[in-house]
Symmetry: C2
């Protein structure tokens, strides 16, 4: 499960999810291009099913199972977009999704998982309790674990974004994604370099959860850190296979402050007219922080999701 | 100037604006389809240049002028999206745009007009003062008046939305736009019925500015009314040629309360992930208010603009 997908696996994923996933549009903004001094091609995964790119990986994992395995359902621990995505993906195959959620998770996100048909299992808000509850559900039901990012099927699903984006904007010479656990960054790196090896890959990371930046600088994965960032989608530590992929593909990490990210989020709302969640805005924050890195280039920019609480905007 | 455009004029407008305008995407939402009980195809003019459909009409008017007339510039009175659109359109031809704005207009909108290269002319906030100042600017400069909606070139430009939308979603059997002055509603009605005469046309109107509904019911245009609605883009009274077009094409008006519109705006943000201004949300409010009118149909829904003050959301 923890090996990395190759381009064939990513192409297979694209075929597998095609009946269910949205081919998301690529949007442009003259105002943001002028601000950045580059041509920005925004891949709008906020318009993906479930409002986030996570549906791609979850859907590929669900449809990769044999009928026999699928019949026992799937399980994961995530109170965020992955849990919701797995519930939506399981529904496309008519199987059960068990989602382990820590006490204190946001009620609106739990409601969405239940609406999608998922079954909630509550546990204490620690990593150990989440893993123990996951193991318990697996033991009781035989459900297949679909890890949010350290899973080759999930990485392959996320990598389909790059296949689509390079078809929509073949002229790209750089590409930037956020990095949290690294499922998206790894899948996109593998797909991109198989198609266009010279394309520069950048990952944007909150300064308060900069384990990817520090791991790559150190040459080995930092496995513990207490994240402190408003970017709730990017608090996970990078997985080991994800780290391996980012190192192999020479992905460079740009860290950004929460204030820079919130300012960029506001720009995406006001200029691109897209409702995106705060984690999604790290990419524009990174471009505006290091414009020399992108100057004059054709840059693919992955906007990861749009699930926000409209009553609690961060500005 | 006040006659109505025909389909040939609208096709000409499409060619004229093609180098400058965005072919805006059509977005879908499974959640909104389920709520409405219909298949909704959202034409996203919030993604148009300048953030509103108004660029189409202004651009067509600007490029319809002879070189000699164009050299003297254009003038209009509008502190909203049309003023900004005319300034942007004039810039594409390298000519001057004079925009008459009433004292008390929103500073952010005035800043946008100036950024686009327009020249502001301030006047008292009355219709008479606006028209007097417009006449004065015309007398001094020879600039051509581009009325926000009672102008065949403007209506033809707005009608290009229907040409695009019917190419993007030819299966439509109903189409809904907001109605204020009626430039959009008239242009779309003329274009739509030339291509697909059986298509049902609906216009959504704020109950606090329901001159279109009352004019069509009475069979003659109501020429005075004090609007009272949060929909700042829909406070204008319908023009005479606009009324004629709506009556000829049997456009049916659905009126919606501000509360219904604000609730629909929130749905467009949370489900479609689009930043749209409150006037844009009247269309979804109308669909949700009269679902039987749209049940099971393929409905084109024009989202008119996305220029909002992110610090003053109406919920």
């Amino acid at each position: 499960m923890n090996a990395l997908p190759d381009i064939d696996a990513i192409r297979d994923a694209a075929s597998r999810i095609a009946p269910y996933a949205v081919v998301t549009p690529v949007l442009r903004s003259a105002a943001l291009d002028a601000l950045a001094g580059a041509e920005l091609h925004f891949k709008c995964e906020n318009l993906q099913r479930g409002g986030a790119f996570k549906f791609r990986g979850a859907c590929n994992a669900v449809w990769s199972l044999s009928d026999e395995d699928a019949a026992r359902g799937v399980v994961t621990h995530s109170s965020g977009n992955h849990g919701n995505a797995l519930a939506l993906a399981a529904a496309t195959r008519g199987i059960q999704a068990h989602v382990v959620v820590p006490e204190g998770a946001v009620q609106a996100k739990l409601d969405a998982i239940v609406r999608a048909g998922g079954t909630l299992h509550r546990c204490a808000p620690t990593q150990a309790a989440r893993e123990a509850m996951c193991a318990e559900v697996q033991a009781q039901t035989g459900a297949a674990l679909v890890h949010p990012y350290a899973d080759a099927r999930v990485m392959a699903g996320q990598g389909t974004i790059a296949l689509e984006l390079l078809r929509q904007a073949p002229q790209l010479d750089a590409l930037i994604t956020p990095v949290g656990g690294g499922g998206l960054a790894a899948g996109v790196a593998i797909a991109t370099h198989a198609l266009k090896p010279e394309l520069a890959l950048v990952a944007a990371e909150p300064a308060g959860a900069d384990d990817a930046a520090r791991s790559l600088a150190a040459g080995s994965r930092i496995a513990s850190m207490v994240p402190d960032t408003v970017c709730d989608g990017l608090r996970a530590l990078m997985g080991q296979p994800n780290f391996d992929a980012l190192r192999t593909h020479r992905v460079e990490v740009v860290t950004v402050s929460d204030a820079e990210t919130i300012a960029a989020m506001r720009l995406l709302w006001s200029e691109l007219k897209q409702v995106v969640e705060v984690s999604s805005a790290t990419v524009l924050a990174a471009i505006l922080k290091q414009p020399q890195r992108f100057a004059g280039r054709q840059v693919g920019v992955v906007l990861t999701g749009g699930n926000v609480d409209l009553d609690a905007l961060p500005w």
